[in-house]
């Protein structure tokens, strides 16, 4: 019996320790008592892209002297966990909420009930009470990508497009933009296939495309992971094909520096996080915030890749 009591107390003590440890790690970001608090709920914190958003949000909090909490599920597939996290942040009555919805429709019911300003970043949702949406103009990003690819090819050359998952509005818009630019430049798009934003899938999709069209000179991929997958398929065949991606991830920029990937259209995840928090504070203070804010895109090629790489490395430190 004594043993049992001891066991229970050990278990209880363990739980206590675990929770205290967790508590401490959570309080790091806490500023003073009376500062404004902005809660940021992202799609996940486990990929480089979202780390940049997190870094931007935290930097804004530091500069503006407000308390910023950034949370997100383990992966982008944990949709319900994100909804729960939004609920749990709302129950702590933050001054404002910044959200990047994984599945736009799923956050609408919980966010409609929010009685604080809600700002969306990266991905928009059909939410009546949103204060603002800050994100990349995906059509424009795709258009820039198409233009960049066309500038590396000759008029009349053949090109392929690798798109994201069906129904992914962000990648769909990019593909539309890229197609428009390629058409204007007189490049013929001979194949368009989805690879669900996944590197491995993009590789096999590209292998299939090359089976039929081995005279392709360029590829536009709707994100960088797919671009890198496409690149592998192209390299395996020993072909000279220009591949353009979208996002501007560290891996893509490194590949550009190594002379493999031809270029990418970089989004500004760091800025999205930063602007999200900054405008959330403005909304708390009752200032007018624009309903739609464009987050800039940047064309990355071998010329400016080194600079971008240093920036990316710096912000995640």
């Amino acid at each position: 019996m004594k043993k049992k009591i001891r066991l229970f107390s050990v278990a209880a003590a363990f739980m206590g320790m675990v929770l205290l440890a967790g508590c401490n790690s959570g309080q790091e970001a806490n500023g003073g008592e009376n500062t404004e608090r902005v809660a940021v709920v992202l799609k996940t914190l486990s990929s480089p892209y979202w780390k940049y958003v997190e870094a931007g949000a935290k930097a804004a909090g530091k500069e503006l002297g407000i308390d910023v909490t950034v949370v997100g599920p383990n992966s982008e597939s944990e949709v319900m966990q994100q909804v729960n996290m939004i609920e749990d942040q709302l129950s702590q009555s933050p001054g404002a909420l910044v959200v990047s919805p994984t599945q736009p429709d799923t956050v609408v019911p919980v966010l409609e009930g929010a009685n604080v300003p809600v700002l969306l970043i990266d991905t928009d949702a059909d939410l009546k009470n949103k204060t603002s949406f800050i994100g990349t103009e995906n059509y424009e990003a795709g258009y820039e990508g198409g233009k960049l690819l066309a500038s590396m090819l000759q008029k009349g050359d053949k090109a392929a497009i690798v798109s994201g998952a069906l129904g992914n509005t962000a990648t769909d818009e990019r593909v539309k933009g890229a197609k428009a630019a390629l058409k204007e430049a007189g490049i013929e798009v001979v194949a368009e296939q989805p690879a669900d934003s996944d590197k491995t899938k993009a590789m096999s999709v590209m292998e299939n495309i090359l089976q039929k069209n081995n005279d392709i000179k360029g590829v536009f991929a709707a994100n960088d992971d797919m671009a890198l997958g496409v690149l592998r398929a192209v390299e395996a065949k020993g072909l000279d094909v220009k591949v353009i991606g979208t996002d501007g991830t560290l891996e893509a920029v490194e590949s550009i520096l190594a002379g493999k990937l031809a270029g990418t259209i970089a989004q500004s995840p760091y800025d999205m996080g930063y602007e999200g928090v900054k405008n959330a504070l403005a909304a708390i203070k009752g200032k007018k915030v624009e309903k739609r804010m464009k987050s800039p895109v940047e064309v990355i090629t071998k010329e400016n890749a080194q600079e971008k790489l240093e920036f990316l490395k710096k912000i995640v430190e």
Binding site: G22, S77, G167
Partner: protein
């Protein structure tokens, strides 16, 4: 030994047994209370009506899956397919009601029957095709159902469900979420089913001692098919609640939910060897997981750390159980 000494010793043994019974019956509950106490001290927002209702709502989907999962585990089996069945059920409901514009009641019927039908299939695969273990049959249907859920709309989500479908997951009675009231009703029903009906007692018997169950003339196949059908049905019901919460259906819904459901059942004191486990223990198991997640969220603990904690709790809960059984065997 004098008679008095024997008597006091017997009394001590009696007392010890009573203590053990209490621990074994209320162990998970004590854990939940301890956890609540610790979180109340750490976060001032934890024990507020608003947050308690959040927990009730957040626990309801897993609670519904877990009570379905309890049945296969009681028969020394497992159902890995429930997360995928949830996804397939709600996608089919979305197609029927949103895309085809049919009556919401028909959609609800489709949602529940898709779950039940696949559950029944799990039972048939196990008993008629004689696949060696439900781990295999349900692993198969887990992938089949997820695949179909992705195929039916080409992986696109479906949003904008009629109010009748959203009701369960969305509405409140006073401050109490309807989804949690549903959980209570379902759990009372399962308690009666498992303790007061013949089939319920057979389920325990099959898990406790399959050979004896067979010899006493129980139609094991029939009971197992019922068990897996119910588990599948509960996946459909949990899906209905989820759609109400988020007003949308998406093919990756319920990804790895089977593991949370199994964890709830095990933390609630059920044995993987079958025959041991209660309805109320399962509810407490589901609440412990929800309270942990919610509490760690309130403390802004990262999601990665939460996984670690929940893993540790599962091991700790089962370890306490193992120790208890070892001791009671000695006694």
């Amino acid at each position: 030994m004098s008679q008095v000494a024997v008597q006091t010793k017997n009394e001590a043994v009696e007392k010890n047994r009573a203590f053990k019974r209490i621990i074994s019956k209320f162990g998970p509950l004590i854990g939940l209370i301890l956890l609540t106490a610790v979180l109340t001290i750490l976060s001032p927002k934890f024990l507020t009506i608003n947050n308690v209702m959040n927990i009730a709502r957040q626990s309801s989907i897993n609670a519904l899956l877990a009570i379905g999962m309890l049945l296969p585990i009681l028969t020394a089996g497992i159902d890995l397919s429930v997360g995928s069945l949830l996804a397939l059920s709600i996608m089919m409901m979305g197609i029927v009601t949103v895309n085809m514009g049919m009556h919401p009641l028909l959609g609800i019927l489709v949602c529940l029957s898709v779950g039940a039908a696949f559950g029944w299939l799990n039972g048939i695969l196990l008993t008629k095709l004689r696949l060696p273990h439900p781990f295999i049959s349900t692993l198969g249907t887990m992938n089949i159902a997820r695949g179909i859920a992705l195929i039916v709309t080409g992986a696109a989500p479906i949003a904008g469900f009629p109010y009748m479908i959203q009701f369960l997951g969305r509405e409140f009675v006073g401050p109490i979420p309807v989804s949690f009231l549903l959980v209570i009703v379902v759990y009372v029903f399962f308690h009666i089913f498992l303790t007061r009906t013949q089939t319920g007692r057979y389920i325990y018997a099959i898990g406790g001692n399959p050979e004896a169950a067979r010899l006493s003339g129980i139609n094991i196949d029939r009971v197992l098919i019922i068990v897996y059908t119910i588990s599948g049905f509960m996946a459909g019901l949990a899906g209905l609640v989820m759609v109400g919460r988020v007003n949308s259906a998406f093919p990756l819904a319920g990804l790895s939910y089977e593991l949370d459901a199994i964890a709830a059942v095990i933390i609630g004191g059920a044995s993987f060897l079958g025959g041991v486990g209660t309805v109320w223990g399962t509810l407490i198991g589901a609440l412990i997981i929800a309270v942990l997640r919610n509490g760690l969220n309130l403390l802004n603990v990262s999601a990665d750390f939460q996984m670690t904690v929940i893993g540790a709790v599962i091991i700790a809960a089962v370890f306490v159980d193992v120790l208890r059984q070892r001791k009671s065997k000695k006694a």
